[in-house]
């Protein structure tokens, strides 16, 4: 048991990333306010980037740009996760934009940001 706890404390970046992911996921899933849902989405994605960046970093090594003619891979950190983070950010930005556009549409039509309220209005319109 104590092993698990010490593991959580040693890898505190990863622990923190997972906690953030949980917060974001829950917010996106359960919060009725559309804007807060979008915030949750961004927190969730950011948690993943934190996790990736933490995993790519290797203690005591340099940024992966060749300086002083040192071409040995052992002196640099892993550049791939950073690349994945960049790709992920682009994806998350576009998804956020679509969600925001949709929120504007919903707000103009129903004058509320509360998704539960919107569902209620739509159901009433149907009957």
């Amino acid at each position: 048991m104590s092993e698990i706890f010490s593991g959580l404390f040693t890898n505190y970046y990863e622990t923190f990333a997972m906690v953030l992911f949980g917060i974001g996921f829950t917010m996106l899933f359960l919060h009725p306010n559309m804007i807060k849902k979008i915030m949750g989405l961004n927190i969730m994605d950011t948690a993943v980037y934190l996790f990736l960046a933490a995993k790519g970093y290797i203690e005591g090594r340099k940024a992966p740009i060749i300086t002083d003619g040192d071409t040995s891979a052992m002196s640099y950190i892993n550049p791939v996760p950073t690349g994945l983070v960049l790709t992920g950010i682009v994806v998350s930005v576009s998804v956020t934009a679509v969600m925001l556009a949709m929120t504007i549409r919903l707000y103009r039509r129903y004058h509320t940001l509360d998704i539960d309220e919107i569902f209620r209005i739509v159901r009433k319109e149907e009957h």
Partner: protein
């Protein structure tokens, strides 16, 4: 013949480019461009199919000429080629048949963007089928989500925007889960290409390292993609999204989008993680239970609906359950049965949605059971299409659904034990439920009514000359003929399809 290996990459890039091109053309040109592109894609995929059959093995195409551990790869075999061909044919037929409804449902200024979205959707479908890189898979999953939500929301009435928002939220939960599982997998194995991941996973599991994280990764991945492909109990978004959108969108969403995620999932299972590791972790049993639950609950929900379109949407939930159940059996026969069911359901469900568009035109613009009485007489093409689709879904001989059910039953008997009994009982029960609600709709469709009672308006609100009947539109009728031929082809030439699928699965892993 080396030149054929370029086709998958060119197809994906062509679709992405067409998306951009369609956004600057006027909508009529965009429409013709999209038809042409889809037709070319079907031909090109056929060429890939012939090429892979003649060489007898899958080929790997290096994107950007960097080889294995660093570069990005496309990998195509028989299975991928068949799927790509099937996807582009269904896409083409759905667009052809629904073109008038798109005109009626989408504002003129936005019509060209409909075709933009369709092209982006097609590129993501092809990429999900062909890619060998797990992160590329994630990126195209998101492109697919965005374009699918766009296809729902573009109708721009309240219902469709709300349905689309709901769809988007659920989809994003799924892709978030999928993304974190990819990151964990990369963290453990250090690779993004599926074949390399499999090797690394094999080495790690042989030494007994990372067993728990590994189970966690497979679960997250499965849940993420199951949410996106609407496996019960994650299906809440599906009925709204499929009911609210214009008929071409409904048919594309139900037959292609759901399937693309399933193809990605099975590809990851086979190629990245290794089927034997999945069986060892026991994940297939969990999928099996969810699949069985979906088969029953989807049909129960469907039987309770008042709206035929909603009923058909719920029936998709049940059919997705069939597909997951087949993977859950855990034998090759089960997987092949499920792959076959992807084709069965894709061909039949898209046709049913298309036919509902025609039925709606002659039934006071509604698809409620009380309004569709006698619609099979008023719009004959739509009536026939609905009947063929319904027969296939129920599983009447000659139709592909029958072959699917036989395959499942055979796979069940092969596996024996408790699973056999459970599958056979569920199959029987699900078939009865299918009969129950599809025959309800069929009987209503062919109940004679007083035709004068229905003032038949065409989609622009103009009265038809011949009251009660709708003029047959050549494009709609020919697309429906195409769908019916496709169904009969899969149903009658099932040996050929099954042989291709089993060969394809052999070179898949």
């Amino acid at each position: 013949m080396e030149i054929f290996t370029n086709i998958p990459c060119i197809s994906i890039v062509l679709c992405l480019m067409s998306g951009v091109i369609c956004s600057v053309l006027n909508w009529k040109a965009a429409r013709i461009w999209t038809y042409t592109v889809n037709f070319l894609l079907a031909c090109a995929s056929f060429a890939v199919l012939i090429y892979t059959i003649s060489t007898g093995e899958a080929f790997v195409f290096r994107m950007g000429h960097f080889s294995a551990p660093w570069g990005n790869e496309i990998r195509a075999g028989i299975l991928e080629a068949v799927l790509a061909m099937f996807f582009s044919i269904i896409m083409l037929f759905s667009l052809l048949a629904g073109s008038k409804h798109i005109e009626a449902d989408v504002k003129e200024s936005k019509r060209k963007y409909y075709y933009t979205l369709v092209n982006l959707m097609m590129s993501s479908l092809l990429a999900l089928v062909y890619t060998n890189d797990i992160f590329t898979g994630y990126v195209f999953v998101e492109i697919n989500t965005i374009s699918a939500c766009g296809l729902v929301a573009i109708k721009d009435d309240g219902q469709s925007v709300v349905a689309s928002a709901k769809y988007m939220i659920m989809s994003l939960l799924g892709s978030g889960t999928f993304l974190i599982s990819i990151c964990l997998l990369y963290d453990i194995t250090g690779h993004l290409l599926m074949s390399d991941i499999k090797r690394a996973v094999g080495e790690l599991l042989a030494t007994g390292q990372y067993v728990e994280p590994f189970t966690m990764i497979i679960s997250l991945m499965t849940i993420g993609l199951a949410i996106k492909s609407a496996l019960f109990p994650f299906h809440a978004w599906l009925p709204d999204a499929h009911t609210a959108s214009t008929i071409s969108s409904s048919s594309i969403l139900s037959s292609l989008v759901l399937k693309a995620y399933i193809v990605l999932l099975i590809k990851i299972f086979y190629r990245a993680i290794g089927w034997e590791n999945i069986l060892e972790a026991g994940i297939n049993n969990i999928i099996f239970v969810f699949g069985i639950a979906a088969m029953i609950m989807g049909s129960v929900f469907a039987a309770a609906q008042k709206d035929v379109k909603r009923m058909v949407a719920y029936s998709s939930v049940a059919q997705i359950g069939y597909i997951f159940m087949g993977f859950g059996i855990g034998t090759t026969a089960g997987v092949i049965a499920s792959l076959f069911h992807i084709f069965t359901h894709g061909a039949a469900k898209s046709m049913i949605f298309i036919s509902l568009g025609g039925i709606k035109d002659v039934s006071h613009h509604s698809t409620l059971f009380k309004d569709i009485k006698g619609a099979g007489f008023r719009n004959k093409a739509a009536g026939i299409a609905f009947s063929v689709g319904a027969f296939s879904m129920i599983g009447i001989p000659l139709f592909p659904g029958f072959i699917s059910k036989i395959n499942y039953a055979q796979a069940a008997i092969e596996v024996g034990h408790g699973k056999m009994v459970l599958i056979l009982v569920t199959l029987a029960l699900s078939t009865i439920l299918n009969c129950l609600y599809f025959f309800h709709a069929l009987i209503d469709l062919y109940t004679p009514t007083d035709i004068d009672e229905y003032e038949t308006l065409d989609m622009y609100g103009e009265r038809e000359e011949n009251p009660g009947f709708i003029k047959a539109r050549p494009l709609y009728v020919s697309a429906i003929c195409g769908f019916i031929l496709l169904n009969f082809f899969i149903g009658i030439k099932c040996d050929l399809v099954l042989e291709l699928l089993s060969k394809g699965l052999g070179m898949f892993g």
